[in-house]
Symmetry: C2
């Protein structure tokens, strides 16, 4: 029996991650592939109960705080965006979702939107709040690499502005769905090829379309290996993102929030540009963010 006081949930497009939270932090965790992409509206509560059922007890209601695509219009219940500039989380703006099972009381976290240039996030706001909890007083820029990488300017505890790049989705499409897939290795890596790709698009971003096809051509006529091709593709796309986000990161304190391997690539790239980024794990950030929210919710009159 887990003595959980509440449940933290990170519910994205492809995964559902739940953490049983006790006084000392995480006391158990479970993950499933019941992401938004695979669920209909009626499927959310059963999917959650399958994952966290063992943490529940009859006659007792556990608070559940959930961030991510679960709060989108196509999710369990829409949690309308809040507009920046604003603090990343606001305990007064949670959306309660009715459940059949009275052992859980679910609240969804709104994403953030920016009017001009138009942009949106869902889930990252919680990681941002976590980063601010883990780095009190941080003013600067947060980089959240991923399918839709975010660059976020934070100051005095607020999100001032942000910009999203489709870097990770482009990598997935190009490496697995395009003509380049014939020359891409699933395994293996080549650091020099990554650095070469990075440098090409950082200095000549307009060449991206040609440099992509060159991966195919070099595979056909110049013996480019599949691991080098994949690493260079990654470098080309991250370099393109860094070229486009330069106004965000140049001369700013930077922290990267992400998965270990991807964060390390961004750190390597930014360091080569003279920056000194700090690294935070996405898991630590999301848990810290949900914990800060839970604390805020207990203090917010309902």
């Amino acid at each position: 029996m887990i003595p959980a006081g509440w449940i933290a949930v990170d519910w994205g497009t492809t995964h559902l991650r739940a953490y049983a939270m006790g006084p000392g932090g995480v006391c158990a965790e479970e993950t499933s592939t019941d992401g938004m992409a695979t669920l209909t509206r009626d499927g959310y509560e059963p999917a959650l109960l399958r994952l966290v059922g063992a943490w529940l007890a009859p006659g007792r209601t556990l608070p559940v705080f959930a961030c991510g695509m679960v709060g989108s219009r196509q999710g369990w219940h829409e949690a309308p965006y809040r507009t920046v500039p604003c603090p990343p989380l606001d305990a007064a703006r949670l959306i309660a979702v009715p459940t059949r099972d009275s052992r859980i009381a679910v609240r969804l976290i709104p994403g953030l939107k920016q009017a001009q240039p138009a942009d949106v996030m869902r889930g990252e706001e919680t990681q941002i709040a976590g980063a601010l909890a883990l780095m009190p007083g941080f003013d600067g820029v947060l980089c959240l690499p991923g399918t839709h990488s975010k660059w976020v300017q934070v100051s005095a505890g607020e999100v001032i502005s942000f910009q999203t790049f489709m870097t990770g989705e482009l990598f997935a499409l190009l490496s697995s769905q395009s003509v380049l897939r014939h020359g891409m290795a699933a395994e293996g890596w080549d650091d020099a090829a990554f650095a070469a790709g990075l440098s090409e698009t950082l200095s000549r971003p307009e060449r991206i379309g040609a440099r992509l096809f060159a991966l195919r051509a070099e595979g056909l006529i110049a013996g480019l290996g599949a691991a080098a091709a994949k690493a260079r593709l990654s470098g080309l796309l991250i370099g393109l993102e860094l070229a486009g986000s330069r106004a965000y990161w140049l001369g700013q304190p930077i922290a990267i929030i992400g998965a270990d391997r991807l964060s390390a690539l961004y750190a390597q790239a930014l360091t080569a540009q003279g920056a000194s980024p700090r690294l935070l794990s996405a898991r630590d950030a999301v848990i810290a963010g949900l914990t800060a929210l839970r604390r805020g919710a207990m203090e917010t009159p309902r």
Copy 2:
């Protein structure tokens, strides 16, 4: 009964197009979806006979000249690349393919390769030869927009250099496989949105990753319509290609060889940049190229 003297074939990844050629040019044509992507090595001869069988007569062998991916390593038979600089076609470098049916004598046309920067083409070399046949004395730049757009510098009847951009494939992937597909119309167009996209990446190519996601964000929070989103995506990607190919087209005579609608978009974009491109249809160019080759083959001792 068609009095064909020979057969011209344009055999790409997705389509097989055959033209029965008489003294006055095309006297019949047939198209199927038996492209390289759907055929095994043994399937090429039957696929061709299905399409052109009605043009054949017993006891008589018709020459068949075929360009495109049919000559790739994964095609019917490999026709090794020729290396630029060189004339786009060389009747002495055709690859004869044995057939079971003696009514056809098939020869495949080699593609072109460039060592540095590494690049390859298959099929476009025939369109280039056709363009030179249709515009005698043309020196300048040819633009062949498509899945893998080509920019080609030609001078004195030779291909001097070329560069491929993955523009069309990126458009297909992004509009039908990415998160942007939710906000893209199959029908409809918006000229102002196309022009806006074009202008954005021509002047700020490094922003492409962010401008792509903005299509999604504006669809969610700013009411961007699906036809406008599709036209702007097209403009963003063509603008990126024009930014990357500027060294090719700036101040040069330009001819565009392609499908009507796509060529018109490139022509609109280039005209807005002060260029005055001529337009040739891809079909006319490939037929003119194969005709020039047939003439050369008759003059080449075997």
